[in-house]
């Protein structure tokens, strides 16, 4: 009796093991295309870029290990330092602007019952349109001599601006354009976050006499803080990789007033064929993004995830 029980058990175990081995086979069949893609197009290229950053590789030429030379050269290169400064300044202007704009619109969205579809269409349209195309129309709007923006300023009796053709105004002009292009993304995330706040909390606050602004600062914002952190993280990461608008509208100019890190990386790799230095820049960018993501994850632990 006892013996047959054990054999039965081992039989089940064996079948389970066979089953799971079969399942392993099936699972890896299903995963095969994406795992091949992961290895070929992310893991290998990332490792290769790290390796390249320590060489003086040239396409079709020889390549030698140069240690940290690329990093040292790049970190003391005035153009890259200017590009890094521009990218940080851009981030410091863009992230607060887009967060405040998106949060404001989201809160307004939730107060209207009609017309939300129309508003969504207006606010989210830039998300689906080609940045190359919309950059061109902005280049025309902010054209300093005959653009619509200066016509409007003249119309209401204000002094005209030089917009992207002046070194001081170029970066803020690009901030305006990118906020326009990307605000919809954050609006969607905030709207979803605010809607997931249980309505009884707001109702209780209203009964306690909390007014709109108080409710926002003491109730809504803390409750959506996970969303807030998520939005800040992805907008910061996005702005560190800022490229298309300066490439198309200003080519990094005037001077290097709007040269960003990725634009400089692009020039090194594909204008000057300096693969090693470009790889070093992209590794530095990678490290910066990883560090920022880690810091923000750390900070977000202090944030309340407890909604019940």
């Amino acid at each position: 009796m006892a013996v047959s029980m054990t054999t039965a058990r081992t039989g089940i175990k064996a079948r389970r093991r066979r089953n799971s081995r079969q399942k392993n086979g099936w699972a890896y069949l299903f995963l095969a295309p994406q795992l091949v893609g992961l290895l070929l197009f992310t893991v290998v290229p990332t490792l290769a870029t790290i390796a390249l950053s320590f060489t003086n590789f040239r396409l079709g030429g020889t390549s030698d290990w140069v240690g940290f030379e690329n990093y040292l050269n790049q970190l003391s290169d005035p153009v890259l330092l200017k590009a890094a400064t521009n990218t940080v300044v851009f981030t410091l202007m863009y992230v607060p602007a887009v967060v405040v704009a998106a949060l404001t619109v989201s809160l307004l969205f939730l107060r209207v019952r009609r017309g939300r579809a129309v508003y969504q269409t207006a606010y989210f349209m830039p998300l689906v349109t080609s940045t190359a195309a919309t950059s061109l129309v902005w280049a025309l709007v902010f054209q300093p001599d005959y653009g619509l923006a200066n016509k409007a300023l003249e119309g209401i009796g204000l002094p005209v601006l030089r917009w992207y053709s002046s070194p001081d105004q170029a970066l803020p002009t690009l901030v305006l354009i990118v906020v326009w292009a990307t605000v919809g993304n954050s609006i969607i995330l905030f709207t979803a976050g605010i809607q997931s706040v249980p309505s009884h909390i707001n109702e209780a606050a209203a009964l306690d006499g909390a007014t709109g602004l108080k409710r926002l600062v003491f109730i809504t914002l803390p409750l959506i803080s996970p969303t807030l952190f998520f939005v800040i993280t992805i907008t910061v990461i996005g702005s560190l990789q800022f490229f298309v608008e300066p490439f198309i509208i200003t080519s990094g100019g005037p001077g290097n007033a709007t040269t960003t890190v990725v634009l400089e990386l692009y020039r090194q790799a594909f204008t000057y064929s300096a693969i090693g230095p470009a790889a070093a820049i992209s590794c530095l960018l990678f490290v910066a993004i990883l560090l920022l993501t880690l810091i923000q994850f750390r900070l977000s632990r202090w944030v309340s995830y407890d909604r019940d």
Binding site: L38, P45, T121, L127, S130, A132, T134, L189, L285
Partner: protein, 285 residues
Amino acid sequence: MTATDSSPTATHRRLPRISRAHIPLIVGAIIMVLPLIYMISVSLTPADHVFDADAGLLPKDPTIASYLDAFARLDLGRGFVNSLVIAVPVTVGAVITSSMAGFAFARLEFVGRTLWFLAILMTIMVPVQVRLIAEYIGFSYVGLLDTYWPLILPAALNSAFGVFLMRQYFLSLPREMDEAAELDGANPWQFFWQIVLPQAKAPMGALALFTFLASWNDFFAPLIFLTSDSLFTLPLRMASTAGLYGTEWALLMAAACVAILPSLIAFILLRKYIVAGVSFTGAGK
């Protein structure tokens, strides 16, 4: 809210009340659409009247001459076809391979499941520029620079967003389905292909839309991998045009309108999917 409104003024308030929130929302919406209206307006303005001192927001003698010009001189038709030839296989490939991987992660038990899933999610953290430099060199070694392969293969076979999206959907299906299928003697592929996939049209649609738009609007990868004019995608063609015809704004705006038209149509028809997709994963621009 209205329950507490018992003051005398409440009677006329009960008429369909329009929230004051509409005023700032309308102002914002106008700012959002103004550039696109201006784009259309300039594209319809006779080329030599774009900068007339009295030129307003609407064209005075609208003409489609710039569109004809754009198709003739900039070969927009070819750019359009090129963009499609890339975006369609990318979309089909990414939807199929992501569904397969998402299914495995959600419904099959296997060794290394958590590890591989985390590995795929980690790719989101790697900036695209880090990959592209080495990919450029790799594709140059196999002689595939200036072809569509570097634009199609990575996008079709390496979609962390797609795998994540499909996995989340497959997790939500009832467990009993698997057992019933196993009792019927269906193998995992039959179960996936005949039972699970037909139910997953909504997330597959959302993923298809996102993938298509991302490929259609992509600028960086085509800029790096394509050098022949005849292979240029629509955004690339426009950007190179801007350099050559920098002052022909009517022509440029006509080209820009043609480039964004498919996205706008897709967006207006499928707005709900886009909103759901972004709120689900944060993907977007």
